[in-house]
Every structure is written in C-alpha cells, then in structure tokens.
C-alpha cells in the first residue's frame, strides 16, 4: 500500500445550521488527524432572489428591499444603492444629508464590529469580552432607536438625501456617547492584548498572506489585515468622508489577531468621524434632501464601505420606474471564499475562529418574545409592534432616560 493510500481523511460538516455559525453556510472540513487539509464551501441556503425582485419594483420600493438584504449591515446596501441611483441621475445631495449619511454609516460600523468582537470572544471561550461588547453596544443601539427611529433597519437613506434630520440636541448626544465609548474601546483592546492565551490563539490562526488576499479579491478588514490598503470611503469619497479627518488602519500579518486589531482601530476612527460630522452638522444649514422626478436611461455603480468591506451595486436603467438590471455584491461574497486558503493547514479548533474572523453577518433585530409556562405567546405580533413604537416614542420624549 502506498503512502498516499494510507492517508485517512475524515470529513467534518459544519452547518448549514450549526450552533457556532449563526448563518446558514455549509463548510465541509476535510481533516487528517487534527490538521485541516481541505475545505468545501456551500452557500445558497438563504438565497431570496432579491436581484430578480428588484427588477419588478419602483426605485423607491427597491430601497426598502435592499435594506432587508442584511440585518446587521442594514444601512450599507441602501447607502450603496442611493449612491448608484444618484450617479445615474447626476445628482448632488445637500451638505446636511452628507453629514447625516456618514453618521448613520459609522454608527453601523461601530455596533457591527462590537458584535463581531463579542462573538469572537465567545467563540474562543472568553466570555468576558462577549459580555462587555454587548454591554457597551447597547447604548449605541438605543441611540440609533432614539434618533433614527429603530435599532436596525433605520430607513434613513432616500434617493436625493436622507429621510430624517438630526437636530443639535441629537448631535450633542452622539458626541457624548462617542466620548463615553473611547475608554471602553481602550479597555477592550488591552483585555485582548494582555491576555497571553487569547493572543497566542489569535496570532497563529487563519493567516491570509497578501498575495492570496489579492488573488481572492478580499475586501474590507480582511484585505486591510493582509496589507492591502483599500477603503472606498477614502479611495472614492462620497457622503462627508472627504470633509473630515480620519485614517485607514492597515496591518500586514493577515492573521485573526490583525483582523481583530484592525476592527478595533476602525471603531476608533468611526468615533472620530461621527464626532466631526455631528459638530459640522450644527453649522450646516439647509434641506436634507432634494426631489428627483425620474431616473434617466443609463448605468451607474454605487458602493459603500460597509463594516465587512465594499458593498457593490450596479444598475442599468432603460428609463421608466423600475431598474432593468440590478446587480448586488455583498462583501462576504468575496471574503467567505478566502477560507479555502486560510483554514487549510491549521487545526480544527482554529478553524472555528478563522471561519468566524470573516465576520459573516446575521440579523439581530429580534427584540423580544414573551411566552407563558406552556410555551404559548403572551403577545401577538401587533401588540409587540405597539410596544416597540411606544418605547421609541417614550425615548424620543426623554422619559426613558
């Protein structure tokens, strides 16, 4: 028997519905002993035909459709979509709307990275990080609810501007919350840096060299942790990103530790952006949106640097009220694929955090469900919606604080 035939390869299925992976993706790990020697990825368990659906909806309706592509990056797809439609229309939006858009985008980045960091801690058995992240993320979501109207799915974007204004008190609330957040981010960073076990686990896991990241066309923090200096917000500025001071963090190691540190630094940069935008908003007078009458024939590309990387929207218009073709590419589409390289050669325990380091996203909008002892629902969905509305109104009136 040859040496090759003696190899015993075992397949370990992870997913499609696995307690560790919140999203339905199927990873088939091929292992030899403890070592991962191959990986097959299957997706498509959550395919909803959104591109096809968009071809049958009015441009305004598509906005609501794309907002529901993702629960956690709920504003990223609308952001790229409005950029795309405004490009076709040749539209420049009011200054005030630019600042508000950037604030919404960065609030989302912070709470999304917080969620990833918490989950990463949880995956590694470091539940203190998980609890801290959830604790410090909550005030941000409450602020979103108070000022945008919802914790997720804010519906702030609108072709030609934004849907709701942020007054001076709202701007001050952002600055206050950001000042409170900064020391917490330092604390989280120290907790990770100073923990020898965590450091050792993250340092050796899931390395993606620059050459491979380029070949796989990785985007976002995945690319920036592997030494690729890209960020749509800087490379092709939109909204208010060219009007405020901030930097793009880049590291060269390509391991999970680098991906963690990149996300922590990005949160700090988001804090800087939000504070500057909130201050500038107090001086920027005028409307928050402009009216558009129709979308002319043509084609356009819109993108936005979402927490996970570049969101890409392409629209072809033949005139009329619906897009002729609407192509959407989310960042995970490029990043999940890199696991084929990053996981292979590592061990099974490292595979869990490497797969999670891509930050596949899931919806955290489920707010509450009350059941009695027999498992029956106490509230109907209508009652739950009424409770949610009442809470939002009470927060706006300042009674909840």
């Amino acid at each position: 028997m040859s040496k090759e035939e003696k190899r015993q390869i075992t397949e370990i299925p992870i997913g499609p519905y696995h307690p560790l992976q919140e999203e339905p993706e199927f990873f088939r790990l091929k292992v030899e002993g403890e070592k991962v020697v191959g990986l097959d990825i299957e997706i498509g368990y959550n395919h909803r035909g959104i591109e096809k659906l968009a071809e049958s909806k009015h441009y305004d309706q598509v906005l609501f459709l794309v907002e529901r592509i993702c629960g956690i990056c709920s504003t990223s797809h609308p952001f790229a979509y409005v950029n795309c439609v405004e490009e076709i229309c040749g539209l420049d939006i009011p200054l005030r709307a630019k600042y508000i858009r950037s604030i919404v985008g960065e609030m989302e980045r912070i709470h999304s990275h917080m969620l990833w960091l918490g989950l990463a801690g949880h995956f590694l058995g470091y539940n203190t990080v998980w609890m801290w992240c959830w604790k410090y993320r909550e005030p941000l979501l409450e602020l979103c609810e108070k000022l945008f109207g919802n914790r997720q799915h804010y519906a702030m974007m609108k072709i030609g501007g934004v849907r709701r204004d942020i007054d001076n008190a709202g701007g001050s609330a952002f600055c206050r919350e950001m000042n409170l957040l900064l020391p917490k981010l330092d604390m989280l960073q120290k907790a990770i840096e100073d923990d020898p076990v965590l450091r050792a686990r993250l340092k050796i896991a899931g390395t993606l060299p620059k050459k491979e990241a380029v070949s796989f066309c990785a985007v976002g923090p995945m690319a920036r942790a592997s030494g690729i200096d890209i960020d749509v917000r800087r490379d092709e500025p939109y909204a208010a990103y060219s009007m405020v001071d901030w930097t793009v963090p880049v590291r060269t190691e390509g391991d999970v530790y680098a991906k963690t540190m990149i996300r922590l630094e990005e949160m700090r940069q988001s804090v800087l952006i939000i504070k500057q935008c909130a201050e500038a908003l107090k001086k920027a007078k005028g409307d928050i949106s402009v009216q558009i009458k129709e979308v002319p024939p043509g084609e356009g590309i819109g993108r936005h640097e979402a927490p996970r990387g570049e969101v890409f929207h392409y629209i072809k218009s033949r005139g009329g009220t619906v897009p002729y073709r609407h192509k959407i590419r989310a960042p995970s589409y490029m990043n999940v694929f890199t696991n084929e390289y990053a996981v292979v050669g590592g061990t099974i325990p490292d595979a869990a955090i490497t797969l999670a380091a891509v930050d596949p996203c899931y919806c955290c909008t489920e707010r509450m469900q009350a059941v009695d002892g027999a498992g029956r629902q106490v509230y109907t969905s209508k009652q739950l919606i009424d409770i949610c509305r009442e809470k939002t109104f009470s927060m706006k009136r300042g009674k909840n604080k």
Binding site: I43, G44, Y45, H47, G49, E51, K52, E87, V214, S215, F216, C217, A218, V219, I230, D235, E236, P237, G298, E299, G300, I301, E310, F312, Y314, K316, Y324, R325, K327, R329, Y333, M334, F337
Partner: protein
C-alpha cells in the same frame, strides 16, 4: 487622460468602443476572445481589483460587465463583453483571478452563460429542488 492613453496603448485594436460617462467610470467594449488578455492586463499589470461581474439579458444578446476597481485612483474600469443568445459562451477568467470563480458559477446558473475552461460550474445559489424557470435572470 493618462489612464485612457495607457489603456489604448496596451489594449489597442482590441477596444471596440471606449466610453467615459463620468470621470471615475470607464466602460470598454471588447470581443469575447480578447477577454482573457484584457482581464490579465487589468488584474496583473495595472493591479486593478476584480470587484464582480454583472451578467444581463439584453434580449437580442447577453452582456457581461466585468467590474475592475483601480483603487489607487478610485476609478472603475468595466469590460463589456457581448455573447450571442443562441450559444452564450465566453472564456473563463477564474484561473487568472480566483475571486471570479463564484460569480462565474452564479452567472452560469442564473443566466445560462457557459464559461469555457471553468470546471466547477455547479449550482451555487439555487437549491437542488428548485423548480422555477431554468435560468431565472433571463427576460424571456
């Protein structure tokens, strides 16, 4: 106009038409047989990042737009390839760019375009028990 000159110098007669509707967007139409050369030039020589590709049914033919991002300048260079409706087929670029493997599978599945040389054109998004139109993104 330095970039346009560079493209014209290297792609030369392969360019069927070049359109720049906005400063940051360049659309270049090429023949399907020149796709691999152009993709290799943009990806390897010009260090563009392959963002994705959009396949669409233009009724009389199929069109595929390969979106390359020149991140250092924030410019998108889009290669437009048209393929006939009777036998929609273009060469694969997935051996040049690993990041194109999934999107070629997706276009094969949803639009029914064959990518010559890509060995793994199995279903990516649709489930095995899918019973709808064979290629859902086709208009007719």
């Amino acid at each position: 106009m330095e970039l346009i000159e560079l493209l014209e110098k290297n792609l030369g007669k392969k360019i069927k038409s070049l359109d720049r509707p906005r400063e940051k967007r360049i659309y270049i139409e090429i023949s399907p047989e020149d796709l691999r050369f152009a993709a290799e030039f943009l990806f390897n020589s010009m260090k563009c990042r392959f963002s994705t590709a959009s396949g669409m049914d233009e009724e009389e033919h199929f069109e595929i737009l390969y979106h390359f991002s020149l991140d250092s300048k924030g410019i998108f260079i889009n290669l437009r390839v048209k393929t006939e409706r009777k036998k929609p087929e273009v060469d694969t670029i997935s051996d040049i760019i690993k990041g194109a493997r999934w999107i070629e599978r997706e276009m094969h599945e949803l639009l029914g375009v064959n990518f010559k040389g890509n060995e793994e054109l199995g279903n990516l998004l649709l489930s095995r028990d899918y019973r709808g139109p064979k290629h859902p993104l086709r208009k007719k």
